[in-house]
């Protein structure tokens, strides 16, 4: 049987692995469509045929819930993440997450980020830079993409020198180096809520949805650089 999952772009590497191993053991086929969280949310609200949705922020899941698009009782937090600054330069030295050091390191260089008003990674990133007092100066240098993986790709290819992405993204891409990890208090907690789509309640979807809560899936997420969801024990 086929299960369709709409998931935030940053989950690409990890969720693909979970789905592959699940498909091997269960015989179900898991099809995942990745995009920036707002695109997913809007498409699901317009009736996209997803069984399960995983967003990169609670706001957009709340937005879906308010529209009655998801089954509220199924909602749970799948994982958390850390926000990092990466560089294309593979030998870029690590920098402390503070105003002066970052200000100097970034200079006039372009910084790739997801859309700062809409996409979770961008929203978190803008919050972190605001917190560090860098947003005002940096915003004209910020290059916005429609999801976090597109920002990652810009840094990976060297189109921009720096980028703000998730820790899990940085680990998946060998062509970037970690410059700094933003302190968790500098931005709202990064949460990946998952839920079943209300109108689509198949046994296969329920099985895979249950599998996502399994220790095995959590371990795979952990291996890929995700953290436990905030507030989880």
């Amino acid at each position: 049987e086929r299960i369709t999952v709409f998931a935030a772009a940053s989950l690409k590497t990890a969720l693909d692995q979970i789905a592959d191993s699940y498909a091997l053991t269960s015989g179900d086929e898991v099809v995942i469509s990745y995009a920036g969280t707002p695109v997913l949310a809007r498409q699901i609200s317009l009736g996209a045929p997803a069984d399960i949705v995983v967003t990169a922020s609670t706001e957009w899941m709340d937005w879906l819930e308010a529209r009655g698009a998801i089954a509220p009782e199924s909602r749970f937090d799948l994982a958390g993440n850390r926000l990092v600054l990466i560089a294309h330069d593979s030998s870029h030295p690590a920098v402390a997450p503070e105003h002066a050091a970052l200000d100097k390191a970034l200079g006039e260089a372009r910084v790739a980020m997801a859309l700062v008003e809409a996409v979770p990674a961008g929203i978190y990133g803008k919050a972190a830079l605001l917190h560090l007092g860098l947003w005002e100066r940096l915003s004209p240098q910020v290059v916005q993409t429609d999801n976090v993986r597109a920002a990652l790709a810009l840094v990976a290819t060297g189109a921009t020198a720096f980028g703000v992405v998730y820790d899990s993204d940085a680990r998946a891409e060998p062509r970037v180096s970690l410059v700094t990890t933003f302190p968790s208090e500098s931005h709202p907690a990064i949460t990946y809520p998952a839920a079943r789509v209300d109108s689509r309640d198949t046994p296969a979807a329920q099985r895979f949805f249950a599998h996502l809560r399994s220790p095995e899936a959590r371990a795979q997420l952990r291996d890929m650089g995700f953290t436990a969801p905030p507030g989880a024990p």
Binding site: V31, S33, Y34, V39, Q43, N147, A156
Partner: protein
């Protein structure tokens, strides 16, 4: 080729071919009709129709995609009406075909219109005096004469449909094996670390398909020009 392309890439190519062929074939009669209207008839609102046909050419494709979603989405009245007849577009390959067809429509109509305008109307008059009614004149004279131009327009539309991205991804999303066309797949691969190789393979496939189609279409268009002249 099956070896060279991975299964996911292969699926995207197959889907794109299916989507583009359907988009082309289904829009062809409509394109022919609209091109004929624009080439031959004078009626109030002609310029409006002309503008409407061209809209997808000049509107941001994402907007076209949203307009499609807002018109044919499962949440809309029209979408539900269609669904009751078993016709669903949103987030299906059929929707990808619709999006591709809409986006390619202006190019198709422009090409067909030109070939209709090149047909010598005196030949049609001659056919009428020989007893052929309007419809027969069209079927036995106009249509055969524009056939190369029609084919050229269809092929150009096909090539454009193969490359359509913005409206497609907005209207039907990017579901592997279901709505992930070659351009969506390229987009997805470009965002996966290490996905460039797959992306470039697909780029090459789409260039090869589109270029062959295009050269064929140019060749046919040139033949058409030579053929339509009255003798």
């Amino acid at each position: 080729m099956t070896d060279w392309l991975g299964p996911e890439e292969w699926r995207a190519v197959a889907l794109s071919l299916k989507v583009s062929i359907w988009a082309t074939l289904v829009s062809l009669p409509l394109g022919l009709w609209v091109a004929y209207l624009l080439a031959r008839k004078e009626f109030p609102g002609k310029q409006l129709l002309n503008g409407l046909v061209h809209l997808p050419l000049i509107l941001p494709p994402v907007v076209t995609g949203y307009l499609l979603l807002a018109s044919f989405g499962p949440q809309t009245g029209f979408g539900r009406l269609l669904e009751s007849f078993g016709i669903v577009f949103a987030f299906r390959w059929t929707g990808a075909a619709l999006a591709a067809g809409v986006m390619a429509f202006p190019l198709m109509v422009r090409a067909i219109r030109l070939s209709i305008e090149a047909v010598d109307q005196r030949l049609e008059q001659a056919a009428a005096t020989l007893g052929a009614s309007r419809i027969w004149v069209f079927a036995t004279v106009t249509l055969p004469l524009i056939l190369p131009g029609l084919t050229a327009g269809a092929i150009l539309a096909f090539a454009k449909a193969m490359g359509e991205f913005g409206a497609t991804i907005t209207f039907v999303s990017n579901i592997p094996g279901q709505t992930q066309t070659v351009p969506s797949a390229i987009y997805a691969f470009l965002q996966v670390p290490g996905g460039e190789a797959s992306a470039w393979r697909l780029v090459i496939v789409s260039i090869v398909i589109a270029m062959s189609a295009l050269l064929l279409s140019e060749w046919l268009a040139r033949r058409a020009a030579n053929r339509v002249r009255a003798t």
